[in-house]
Structure formats: structure tokens, C-alpha cells
């Protein structure tokens, strides 16, 4: 359990000015697997931006699969790429949500507040589209519609970049060697249930448990 290969990283906030990363790697590496059986192994870091390749305000894979509403998918994906500003994740959260907790719960500023605060002019079509995307209630567009995605140029060496937290299925608690490896990295541990087998239940459990971590460790206290 030494390397994470994050082709895809979703940012979760510590505060508007300080964000931690939930690394959800899409890779065939042995230690990180995903799928309908819910064997997700995730690590959470303090925010870092070195070696960043691209930053999107949503999950780019969903965009490429044409699974966002037409008002987003009709645009060029690179119009939403913001890595030229390395503080973009903080700015996106501040602009669209205001607080870390609101971002985590995907509760955006109201239309009125948003437009009054930022005086969006007619040219900011991308910004308006993003705000509309967050408020999209159709369940077809899940929370990946505003999971800030940071792509890196290479692997993350977990022995050098210490994770704050590791999340994995509770069956792994029986594997003391695995737990020792995680603890040796300096990470705290939370686990989530395997049954009832249901992909959405795994997501829900992970969200609830991660929120417990954020609250207890003061990550919501801006």
C-alpha cells in the first residue's frame, strides 16, 4: 500500500481556502479497485497542487460519455479546464457554494444570491451553465456533476505524501497486516459495510462516514 495512481482525483473541502483531496483512482492497480461490489479503497489528503495536469469542476469521464445535460455537453470540455489558476478549486467552491459543508452536500448558492454577488454578464455562459448544472435535480446527473477533478501527471507516493484518512470495506479489518500498513502511512481509518450489496448504498455510507471525519477533525470549521 505504497502508491496511488490517481488518474482522477476528486477534491473535498477542508475550508474554502484549504481543501483536502479524496483520491478515487481509476486504475487497475491492485490496491484500488472499484465496481458494483463496492470494493472502494480511498485515501484523503490535505490539498496539494504540485504536478497538476488538469483541473475540471466536474468529472471529465462523465462529460466524455455525454452524460451531462445538453447545456453543458454542447460546450467544449476544455472551456471548463482551469489548471492555469492553481487556486481554482478553492475559488470554485467559494463562488458556487460559499462554504465547505455546502460543497460537500452539493448545496449551491441560490440563483438570486449567485447573480447578485457576482454580477454575471451575458458573456459568462460557462459560469451560468455550471451553476445550472449544480442545481439540476434530475437523478440522472449524480454528484459527479460538481466533483472538482484534479488530474496529476504521475503517481502519488503514499510514503512521502501522507494521507490523512483511508476508507475501505469493513471486511479488511480482519487483515491486520493491511491495517498495519495503512497505519504506518500515518492515516486514520474508517470502514464501510459490504451488505446490503448495492452500489448506491456504498456511496451513501462512504459519504456519511467521511462527513463524520470532517466534522470530528474540524475540517468544516472555517
Amino acid at each position: 500500500v505504497e502508491r496511488s495512481k490517481p488518474t482522477h482525483v476528486t477534491c473535498f473541502p477542508r475550508s474554502v481556502s484549504h481543501i483536502s483531496l479524496l483520491v478515487a483512482p481509476r486504475t487497475s492497480a491492485n490496491y484500488f479497485k472499484k465496481g458494483s461490489i463496492g470494493n472502494y479503497q480511498l485515501v484523503v489528503f490535505d490539498f496539494f497542487i504540485d504536478n497538476v495536469k488538469r483541473i475540471f469542476s466536474f468529472e471529465s469521464g462523465v462529460f466524455k460519455s455525454k452524460r451531462y445535460p445538453p447545456f453543458i455537453n454542447m460546450m467544449d470540455m476544455l472551456d471548463f479546464e482551469t489548471s492555469s489558476d492553481l487556486e481554482a478549486p478553492q475559488k470554485l467552491i467559494g463562488t458556487f457554494f460559499g462554504t465547505a459543508r455546502n460543497y460537500y452536500r452539493l448545496s449551491a448558492r441560490s440563483q438570486e444570491q449567485f447573480e447578485n454577488l457576482f454580477e454575471i454578464d451575458v458573456l459568462d455562459e460557462e459560469i451560468k451553465a455550471l451553476h445550472k448544472l449544480i442545481q439540476e435535480k434530475d437523478k440522472r446527473f449524480d454528484d459527479r456533476r460538481f466533483s472538482i477533478e484534479v488530474q496529476f501527471n504521475g503517481d502519488i507516493d503514499l510514503t512521502k505524501r501522507k494521507p490523512l484518512l483511508a476508507i475501505f470495506p469493513e471486511t479488511y479489518l480482519s487483515n491486520q497486516q493491511y491495517i498495519d500498513q495503512i497505519e504506518a502511512l500515518g492515516a486514520e481509518v474508517i470502514t464501510y459495510p459490504v451488505y446490503p450489496l448495492r452500489k448506491e448504498y456504498f456511496y451513501g455510507s462512504i459519504y456519511e462516514k467521511l462527513e463524520t471525519f470532517y466534522v470530528k477533525r474540524g475540517y468544516y470549521n472555517v
Binding site: 487497475s28 491492485n30 479497485k33 472499484k34 465496481g35 458494483s36 461490489i37 470494493n39 469521464g61 466524455k64 460519455s65 455525454k66 452524460r67 437523478k139 440522472r140 470495506p169 469493513e170 471486511t171 479488511y172 479489518l173 480482519s174 487483515n175 491486520q176 491495517i179 497505519e183 486514520e188 481509518v189 474508517i190 470502514t191 464501510y192 459495510p193 459490504v194 451488505y195 446490503p196 450489496l197 448495492r198 452500489k199 448506491e200 448504498y201 451513501g204 455510507s205 456519511e208 462516514k209 462527513e211 463524520t212 471525519f213 470530528k216
Partner: protein
């Protein structure tokens, strides 16, 4: 009806939950169950990734279908493997309470099945935390996170999950598709699948698998699946989402030499224009093998050689991949033998030239040498 085939050993040899892997008599696809909060079986979804997990064969014979009580499996305190529906498992837990209670980590997992109350659950969480974690802060965090989940899972988590409602207007009913889909006739569903307006629906593959399982010999489904993959591809969407459907098409084409002929050239062309898809296909051993077996027989030779060359340069040379690529090259070269023997017949279909043959032979010789050095010739037996 889906049959129990294997268990995915997510507990990796220790007492704990296992995940039943199912097979359908109509496709060779592996499937897993998706349940509701009452452990009732609501969906059965293809699961190609099982090759990446530890598995163990099932010694019991069980079969299930949608709306049955779901199959629950675990390795018990005495290493016996238990598999049954929720009533059977609850009976077992009651009869073996003493043995199970000696292993708090196992008990903690089984408490979810029996729906244990807060107080007994809390005691078990504390025992687990004391057993696993040294730091008091970590113990408290873990127990508190369990408590929080226990309190919220009824009122928040499950309420936010689609409750498998029946949507009478359209089969595009979110994840509730399987309970509503049974209300539609096969003809209606085939029309729904054929309608391009539905091609980008996230339920398209679910509906296709459902109809295919019920109507394994309906050739229209093969035609529709090809049109769908071509459409998805022309929209620039990621081909990965087509893998479970592609798997069924390729598996079926093995026994039907004349099927999918134009599709082979499309697929080799499409993959050559986006080689990164090979990294995704590489994650599924059986799909990877089927893909190259198919492409070597039905793809454009030039494109397929490019794909093989890319795999040799960029992908790890694992035995299954070397076996699949070796076998593909042999297929290509054997076609050239037919070409020499029967020029007029094959020349109509395949366009070999001497350079291609030499190139294929060079690649094959490099692969065979690699296999000799690294796997002592196991590639011959490992091929599909």
C-alpha cells in the same frame, strides 16, 4: 434464472462477508446482485471485474432471480462457508451465536444482516476498535463513524437512493429499471432499445442485458447492439461503457463465423483512433482475449497489427495478454496461408501484402521468444 457460480473473497481468506458471483445460462457474462435495504434482490448486473479478485468456487447449488430474497454469503468463525437468503442466514446466526461472538469483526458484519439494535451493536463496535486500533483517538473516530452511520442509514441514505419505483411511462426509470421493466413486452423494449433517442440513456445497457437474457436467440438484439456501439462511438463517448455488451457480442461471434463481419473493421478502426481504450480493455482478461481473437479474424489487418504493436510497447506483458496477442497473430498468419492457397477466395475479403505478413511474423517471433524466456511456454495453454 441466475446460478451461483463463485464467491468473490472480499475477506481474503479471513472470516467475513463473501460476494456471490452469478452466471446466466444465456450469456457467459458474470453477474452480481444489487439489493435493497431488506436484502431483497432488485437488480443483477454484469460484473466483468471479478478476475481482479480472489475467488473461490461454490460447493452449494443455488439459483436466484429478480425479486427473490438475495443471496448472502460469508466465511464463518470455523472457516465454513455459509450461503443462503436472509431467513436462512438469520437461522444460522442464531444457532451459532456463541461461536460468532468470539470474533467481533465477523459479528459486526453479521449484525447488519440481522438488523441488530443499537446497544448490542455498540458493544461489538467497541470490541472491534479495541482489537484493531492502538490509538484511542482512532478507536473513538471509528466507533463514532459506525454510530453516525447506524443513526442515519434509515432516514438519510436509503431515502436518497431510488426506491425502485415503478415508472409506467417509460422504462428509463433510473435504477428502478428492473422492477418496472418486467411490465413491458419484449417487443416494446426492443423498440425502446432501437430508438436512437434512448441510446445515451444510462439504462440502455441494463435494458439490453435484460432483454438479451430473456430472448437469447433474438438476432435483432445483436444488430441493435452494433448500431448502439457505433452511435456511442460516433458521439465521441467513451467505449468503456460498451464493454459488457461488447463482451456478449464477441463471445457469441466465436461460434458464428459469419456474424459481425462489418463490425470487426469498424471496431479495429475505432480502437486504432483511440488507443487508450486498450488500457481499459486490459483490465478484463477474458474480454481482452475475446477482443483480439475477434479482431484477428474480422478486423482490418493493418489496424489490428497496429493495435498489437501498441499493446507490446505500452501494456505490461502479463501471460494472459501475451497469450491473447500470440493467438491473434497466429490467426492473422494462418489467414495468409489460406491466402496463398486460395488467392481468389480470400483476396476478396482480406487485403494482405508481403510487408504485413513479415511484420506479423516478426511480432509473433518476438512474443514467442518473450514467452519462452518468461513463462516457459505457458501461452499456448493460456489462450482462449
Amino acid at each position: 434464472m441466475f446460478k451461483l457460480m463463485l464467491f468473490i473473497d472480499i475477506s481474503e481468506g479471513h472470516p467475513g462477508m463473501l460476494i456471490p458471483l452469478l452466471s446466466s445460462p444465456n450469456t457467459n457474462l458474470p453477474y452480481v446482485q444489487q439489493m435493497d435495504e431488506f436484502l431483497q434482490l432488485r437488480e443483477i448486473v454484469p460484473f466483468l471485474q471479478y478476475e481482479n479478485y480472489l475467488t473461490m468456487p461454490s460447493e452449494v447449488q443455488r439459483s436466484v432471480t429478480i425479486e427473490d430474497k438475495g443471496l448472502i454469503a460469508f466465511r464463518s468463525y470455523d472457516d465454513s462457508v455459509i450461503c443462503g437468503d436472509v431467513s436462512e442466514v438469520m437461522n444460522y446466526i442464531e444457532a451459532n451465536h456463541e461461536g460468532i461472538s468470539k470474533l467481533p469483526i465477523l459479528q459486526c458484519q453479521l449484525n447488519r444482516i440481522v438488523g441488530a439494535e443499537l446497544t448490542p451493536s455498540y458493544d461489538v463496535w467497541k470490541s472491534v476498535a479495541a482489537q484493531i486500533f492502538e490509538s484511542e483517538a482512532q478507536r473513538t473516530l471509528w466507533v463514532d463513524s459506525e454510530l453516525q452511520l447506524f443513526q442515519k442509514q434509515k432516514k438519510r441514505i436509503w431515502s436518497e437512493i431510488d426506491p425502485f419505483e415503478v415508472n409506467r411511462k417509460t422504462p428509463d426509470a433510473g435504477s428502478g429499471i428492473y422492477s418496472s421493466i418486467a411490465e413491458y413486452s419484449t417487443e416494446y423494449l426492443i423498440r425502446w432499445l432501437s430508438n436512437r433517442a434512448n441510446f445515451l440513456s444510462k439504462d440502455w445497457t441494463k435494458v439490453w442485458h435484460y432483454v438479451k437474457n430473456k430472448n437469447p436467440f433474438d438476432d435483432r438484439l445483436i444488430e441493435i447492439a452494433q448500431s448502439w456501439i457505433v452511435f456511442i462511438s460516433s458521439e465521441g463517448a467513451d467505449l468503456q461503457q460498451t464493454f459488457s455488451v461488447l463482451y456478449v457480442l464477441l463471445d457469441r461471434s466465436r461460434g458464428s463465423p459469419n456474424e459481425l463481419s462489418g463490425f470487426g473493421e469498424f471496431l479495429s478502426d475505432r480502437m486504432t483512433s483511440d488507443l487508450s481504450i486498450l488500457f481499459e480493455a486490459f483490465r478484463y482478461k477474458r474480454l481482452f482475449a475475446l477482443l483480439f481473437e475477434f479482431l484477428s479474424k474480422k478486423g482490418d489487418t493493418n489496424d489490428v497489427l497496429k493495435l498489437i504493436n501498441f499493446c507490446l510497447d505500452e501494456l505490461p506483458k502479463q501471460p494472459f495478454a501475451v497469450a491473447a496477442l500470440t493467438s491473434a497473430l497466429r490467426n492473422i498468419i494462418s489467414e495468409t496461408g489460406k491466402f496463398e492457397n486460395n488467392l481468389t477466395q480470400v483476396a476478396r475479403n482480406r487485403d494482405f501484402d508481403q510487408k504485413q505478413i513479415e511484420y506479423a511474423e516478426n511480432l509473433l517471433s518476438a512474443l514467442e521468444n518473450y514467452a519462452k524466456e518468461h513463462f516457459s511456454g505457458t501461452t499456448n495453454t493460456a489462450s482462449v
